[in-house]
Subunit: 265 residues, 2 copies
């Protein structure tokens, strides 16, 4: 009798485990997602108040980019570590309680790689990677460890309310010119139809190998051949702030402002 | 001894169940998401080939709307059942293997309700629900069971390749004028910044109480007071087709085309 009960318990345990794991497997079988917190049009409109703690952001990925509460610098997430590049250019490791108003991260499992030639600049690299991706109407996360003959990056100064639009603030950016620097580029690529919500096209952030310098990348030239690792993504997981976007003008088209903010020197 | 073993097994079972449920709870603790398959600009450009089977779509929600492979009618997902309203107006229950190029669904757990007055029309209802939602820069799913003195819906004819843009096809829509009809409205509301990707503002589909008629809603007037159930959502889970959007023009701004397609009689 007790053997039957034990068998019944054992069977129930096995069944429970099977159900539990099959449920996890179903979730896991879904495509990997680019996790995005916040909306680019809100950031362009001056929505700099952070609301997602970095400790929570990190549960969504180990590679990515973004900014910080009060627009206090450029974010690089690499190997699960968040680096902050403030306008001073001196990289910091922000506290886990620090928050972000906008970030894009991914659990990085690259499925493609691409050789890049020495001397290639940002435009050449983007074109080569576009060809490798084939379908550019998807999302992609890219990691590129390389040495650069030249790399130009920028950061933005921490803001105080009332916040001005990003296109104005970005004019006060600090530009860093690096020569013969080794480090890692983290890039996200968005399809054209994410306009308003995300960043169409390429968006590059940099952190040096010694993790002391970095920023939002304006240009670079590869010193040697390098190997880019690419992760195309069919899925985006968008989370909006609890606090909402009250007081921000989200009606105007900010495509040209975004272009200026992303690429102007 | 066997009692100890039974106890051990029972404890293991309980622990397993706890772990299993706490793991589900962690997933559940994340905000509920509006699941969207496909991209509205691709649909507007004539991307009518379905690629997600309804059997898979239903795993993402029990309430929603969308269309079908080859633009073969309007979709209403209600209480986990997919209804197809083809241009004939005769509602069908499509096979689980039928596919969709575009749909928005949610696991509907409304957290707000709103009384609506007899005689209110679509504009008045939208304004009342906007006020109830407060923050209209989020997503929302709405269910409204009511009797209507009048309701106008439409459906679109099944297409054959090469597909024409939706703005052209929608001119050939079939319009259904219902009078004193009882049924359910399913609506999704998108924030302004989803332009290009989703549907900003309100989007209503209808299915009659006898599940025989329905369509994409152009106008309605409530016969009696009714209670709308609302589910505001901070999160969107976007999945792009494996097949991509090759051959589709996703560069042009289709905001005015979308407006015409959604609301023109």
């Amino acid at each position: 009798m007790f053997i039957n009960r034990r068998s019944a318990l054992a069977s129930t345990l096995i069944l429970t485990l099977l159900l539990c794991f099959s449920s996890s497997a179903t979730a896991g079988a879904q495509s990997a997602a680019l996790f995005q917190y916040g909306v680019i049009d809100a950031l362009l409109a001056g929505g700099y108040d952070g609301s997602l703690p970095l400790s929570q952001l990190r549960t969504h990925g180990d590679l990515g980019l973004g900014t910080f509460d009060a627009l206090d610098g450029e974010m690089v997430l690499l190997d699960g570590v968040v680096y902050q590049v403030p306008a001073s250019g001196q990289v910091k490791r922000p506290a886990p309680g620090m928050t972000t108003p906008f970030a894009q991260v991914v659990r990085f499992h690259p499925t493609l790689s691409q050789s890049l030639a020495a001397g290639a600049d940002i435009k050449a690299v983007e074109a080569t990677l576009d060809t490798r991706l084939g379908d550019t109407q998807r999302f992609a996360a890219i990691r590129l460890d390389a040495t650069f003959t030249a790399l130009t990056a920028r950061s933005v100064p921490k803001q105080t309310p009332p916040y001005r639009p990003l296109a104005e603030v970005a004019k006060e950016q600090t530009v860093f010119d690096f020569h013969t620097v080794r480090g890692t580029l983290v890039a996200m690529r968005g399809p054209t139809f994410v306009k308003g919500l995300g960043v169409p096209g390429w968006h590059w952030h940099f952190i040096s190998q010694d993790r002391k310098r970095g920023g939002h990348v304006l240009s670079f030239t590869l010193a040697d051949g390098a190997q880019a690792k690419l992760m195309p993504l069919r899925r985006m997981d968008l989370l909006l702030p609890t606090s909402g976007f009250s007081g921000l003008d989200l009606l105007r088209d900010r495509a040209s402002e975004l272009k200026a903010v992303e690429s102007a020197r």
